[in-house]
Symmetry: C2
Subunit: 337 residues, 2 copies
């Protein structure tokens, strides 16, 4: 099932996204921030966080769930604890405004936290942790959205896929970074397996009666996904709920699920981001010391550090091959407004 593809440069991807967002009620700052997030994902080969997300963005603007002209508001509750109220906008502008303030605080104090609330996150987390690492800081981020994962032992969805991302800065190369769902498998992958008739690995999901199954269709239609790593992954998913909802003061997944209008766009959700300065905490030798560890690790037989495929894709100056059907859909969403 090869679908037709249209070659687009990163700039063309950016413009396609930006124009569509402007046509659907975003102001220029929000349209630019969303377009940057989407085009950066396509640059790095992450299709599922690229232009694929634009129809959902449009749906949430048209339904009135998201305010495309929201101006994020930053409040430093203390010099180290920064709150950001997204005023019901998309996350990219909130992050663009919040992360430099967070990084400044961490550079001064050694550690700082950014709690983003009333924002709609619809992307990966690595853009924020990598932005922090580009400042020479350690970044840790997590968020929650709507329920699709059953806690270990349970048979009903309560957690979202609860992703966590961590980035560690490296001299003259991309950071060590991971960005992973705490679900055993992403919902989109389960959907693809269901469509293509592939079996799931054991431990990925339950059917609608709560029984373990490897039948992707049974998990996708009325079943639930399980946390990765059984009870340990479930504990980490719980921590992510508490950090990104309880500590931020925004919706837990079950609250977001109840509040969301299900327009296909991003639910409201909180995001917690921590930045730390190894220079302040560890001292001057931190870079050589951690680089020694990372180079030993990546030189072990069989080891591949996460994020490397993305960092390699980033270097390509070739146009990206976007599904023609998607390009046409975005163009129609741009002109029918």
């Amino acid at each position: 099932m090869m679908s037709e593809r249209t070659p687009l440069t990163i700039q063309q991807i950016y413009t396609l996204a930006e124009t569509c967002m402007l046509a659907n009620g975003c102001d220029s700052a929000n349209a630019a921030a969303v377009a940057k997030t989407v085009s950066t994902a396509e640059r790095d080969g992450s299709e599922s966080h690229g232009l694929f997300r634009i129809p959902g963005h449009v749906a949430s603007l048209r339904s009135g769930k998201v305010n495309g002209k929201a101006e994020p508001e930053i409040e430093a509750v203390t010099p180290a604890a920064i709150r950001l109220d997204g005023h019901n906008g998309f996350a990219p502008l909130a992050l663009e405004r919040g992360i430099p303030v967070l990084a400044d605080a961490a550079e001064t104090l050694g550690i700082a936290v950014l709690a983003i609330r009333k924002s709609h996150h619809f992307a990966a987390l690595w853009p924020e942790t990598e932005a922090i690492a580009e400042r020479g800081l350690v970044g840790l981020a997590c968020t929650a959205h709507t329920p699709m994962v059953a806690p270990y032992g349970a048979k009903k969805a309560f957690f979202s896929t609860n992703p966590i991302s961590f980035a560690w800065p490296r001299p003259n190369k991309p950071p060590y970074v991971f960005d992973m769902a705490t679900a055993a498998m992403a919902r989109g992958e389960v959907g693809l397996a269901a469509r293509d008739g592939h079996a799931l690995p054991e431990g990925v999901g339950l059917d609608s009666d709560g029984n373990p199954t490897t039948d992707a269709k049974a998990v996708h239609q009325g079943g639930v996904i399980l946390p990765f790593g059984t009870y340990k992954g479930s504990a980490i998913a719980t921590m992510i709920e508490l950090l990104s909802a309880g500590l931020v003061g925004d919706y837990f997944s079950y609250e977001a699920g109840e509040a969301d209008n299900k327009d296909g766009g991003p639910a409201q959700g909180g995001q917690l981001i921590i930045a730390m300065s190894p220079k302040i905490i560890a001292g001057d030798n931190w870079e050589a010391h951690s680089e020694d560890f990372l180079s030993k690790l990546e030189n072990m037989d069989g080891v591949r550090l996460p994020g490397q495929r993305r960092h390699k894709n980033r270097l390509s100056t070739e146009p990206r091959l976007i599904k023609t059907e998607l390009v046409e859909k975005i163009r129609s969403l741009t002109s029918d407004e």
Copy 2:
């Protein structure tokens, strides 16, 4: 193989440990701190972190690896970033001195970090995160020791079991807390399975040739343990190395393994502890909001929150049943000095 047991009150356990530590070169502050950690573990039913650890403590005092009279030194590099130099002592006194300083900083600034170096940790992590939660703060702690876990894809040990603990405060009840190794199974459990001839679950270990096996003996004798949750658990184990060694400025596991004199006591290792104030970051409603989440979670069919068995054991006023052989060993280590 039921071994004989001796009933001891928590106070008797404390005194047994304290007397032995004093007889082997600890000053009163260090002896009291170790005895408190050990007796608290026995109180909570955690035998593997209780009196069982005393012979290792003694070995490391007798070999000269650990200084039983070390006075921890605290340096607030910034108001939010606190370094503690253990001066080669045991971790309990370092934690007793450092955690109140960390908690004070987090209560003022919303977030703070404690980086402990040149210290010897030989206990669970939940005592430190629970102490933070008792102050109404969120606690996160991690540490590394010596290699026994292969990174995902590799066949050789490089990580330690790299535990992480998280505690979230709850009104009028023990915190939500987990404390877990990022190894698929604790080394001690693999040893017990090898002794008793039990098979391991799949995914727990490799034999000495680097092949997956469920033979506990093959893993225990020359093989390696794997991270929990395959590549995702391995990424979290990597993060823990970077946080507790790279960010603290102390040994990575492979460095600790090279430096350790293998006397059976704790290797030198770093520990990173973060404390955060939900009152400052989320605001006044945080307690009711997060309690709603946690009570929904613990009331789901099939869900058991971590730490509950320990919190239940804690309430018992009965004497604890300690292996008689261990009690006798500790007494002999006390009198033969």
